[in-house]
């Protein structure tokens, strides 16, 4: 099957409001549909900054500057649209429904398990109760947490374990049927068993969703992703198939990083 691009980052620069220099410089990166792209690199290299640019979540704080293009495929028209041109708040909300995000620390809302997933659906304008219920159950099942929560849907989500909370957050994002899911170190706060469960889930999700994941865990990047991007001090040093990056990277810097010689 030919790989299809869903997002294309072109000559992208990003500068934080308080910074004098851009944190990201001249990034060019394709994101392929139904594939997992991992972003690796030492702390401060800009991988989370880049990830957060992909659904304009930086815009929650004023004064940041974008330059270049982040083109997202419009599934209906088949045309790419530059998300950096979006200005209106409702356009940005719609973008974040298409490009969802899972953070390092699970962020369940202080409400019931059911309502955590239903919340986004209600915000998206779905009012029909049975439709909401159907979508919540589907999302919980699709996020491999249904069996654990089906008997306590009305209990607080805060009572779940860290791994369960993270899967609930994934269910919350999945319920909105995003096209891309961005994962910002989703397992760094979890134990190995929960990490395994989340990794299996991400691997399953790629049938329906495109995934971009930032991780400090090199083994996670290698076993999970199809493509890997290595970043260093705000620049994209190398991008290729994961097997290529982990077996025979072209750049010495990449090799030094993945073999633990620096970073």
């Amino acid at each position: 099957m030919a790989k299809e691009m869903i997002m294309e980052i072109k000559d992208f620069y990003f500068k934080y409001a308080s910074a004098s220099e851009p944190s990201l410089k001249g990034i060019n990166l394709p994101v392929f549909k139904n594939k997992i792209t991992a972003m690796i690199g030492p702390s401060g290299c800009g991988k989370s900054t880049l990830l957060r640019s992909l659904n304009r979540i930086h815009d929650l704080y004023p004064g940041n500057e974008y330059k270049g293009e982040v083109n997202l495929l419009n599934q209906e028209s088949g045309e790419f649209e530059n998300i950096l041109k979006l200005k209106k708040e409702n356009e940005l909300i719609a973008l974040r429904q298409k490009v969802g995000m899972i953070f390092q620390k699970p962020t369940p809302f202080p409400m019931s398990i059911f309502d955590n997933v239903a919340y986004g659906l209600k915000l998206a304008g779905i009012k029909n109760k049975s439709e909401i219920e159907e979508k919540v159950i589907k999302a919980l099942k699709g996020s491999a947490i249904w069996k654990e929560v089906k008997d306590r849907l009305n209990q607080s989500a805060m009572g779940l374990s860290g791994g369960q909370q993270q899967r609930l957050c994934i269910a919350r994002a999945v319920a909105l049927k995003p096209e891309i899911l961005l994962f910002d170190e989703p397992t760094s706060a979890l134990d190995p068993i929960s990490t395994g469960a989340i990794e299996e889930l991400i691997s399953e999700l790629k049938k329906d969703v495109t995934v971009v994941i930032v991780t400090h865990n090199m083994q996670q990047a290698s076993r999970l992703s199809d493509y890997t991007a290595f970043m260093y001090i705000g620049e994209l040093i190398e991008y290729d198939k994961t097997s290529k990056i982990f077996l025979e990277p072209k750049e010495k810097l990449t090799e030094d990083y993945i073999t633990g010689r620096f970073g």
Binding site: E200, E204, Q219, S243
Partner: protein, 221 residues
């Protein structure tokens, strides 16, 4: 465990077992060629293993990829390492079978009479075959008891091979003394038999690797 990791481990096992099946079939053909003086079967045995080095390279590369991408640990690591080395042992065995089949062809074309040696040669070839088959079964089994039995069996057959070969060597030397003009053909045939002896040696390595994969311990070949 990630589904694709599971699948990759299974694929590695499948590739190694496919190579093992080729080896067994080729050996059977080479043995039949010897018994039936069938030149065609000897050629087929050789042809069957023509691309075994390519298959081994493929296995090597897939296993390197598995190690690089999935960092297997504990039993998974032992299994992956064992497959890497088993594939290499099997490939050496394919060389011995090809070489043996070639010498069978020479023997058939030269009408070399084995005289009283024939039964010993067949028994020897049978023992080498049994050690090979048992070692391949050891790769397949999940049962610890069966593995123990196969381990013993391979070692017994390998010892038998050593004993029968010494016997054959003595008889061949006697035969050379009686008919010195056949010396070069008989020595060439003896070299072919030595390949079979090496097959049984390599089978011991294969079963040791299968044992290491399942039960661990230190690798010692």
């Amino acid at each position: 465990m990630l589904q694709n990791y599971k699948e990759i481990l299974k694929k590695n096992q499948k590739r190694v077992l496919a190579l093992a099946e080729d080896v067994l079939k080729a050996y059977e053909l080479a043995y039949e060629a010897l018994k039936e003086s069938d030149m065609d079967k000897a050629s087929k045995a050789r042809d069957m293993l023509k691309d075994s080095h390519d298959k081994n390279s493929k296995i090597d590369n897939e296993i390197i990829k598995t190690l690089a991408l999935f960092s297997p640990e504990a039993r998974d690591l032992r299994v992956v390492i064992a497959y890497l080395k088993i594939a290499s042992e099997l490939t050496r065995i394919t060389d011995y079978i090809r070489s043996f089949a070639k010498r069978v062809k020479i023997q058939i074309s030269s009408d070399l009479e084995l005289g009283g040696l024939q039964d010993d040669v067949y028994a020897f070839a049978q023992s080498a075959y049994k050690s090979l088959r048992a070692s391949i079964n050891a790769i397949k089994t999940d049962s610890e008891d069966e593995l123990e039995n196969l381990y013993r069996k391979v070692n017994v057959e390998e010892s038998k091979c050593d004993d029968i070969l010494s016997l054959i060597e003595k008889k061949l030397i006697e035969q050379i003394c009686i008919v010195p003009e056949n010396a070069s053909e008989l020595i060439s045939f003896l070299n072919g038999l030595r390949r079979l002896e090496r097959i049984s040696d390599r089978s011991v390595n294969v079963v040791k690797l299968a044992y290491f994969a399942q039960k661990g311990g230190k690798l010692k070949l």
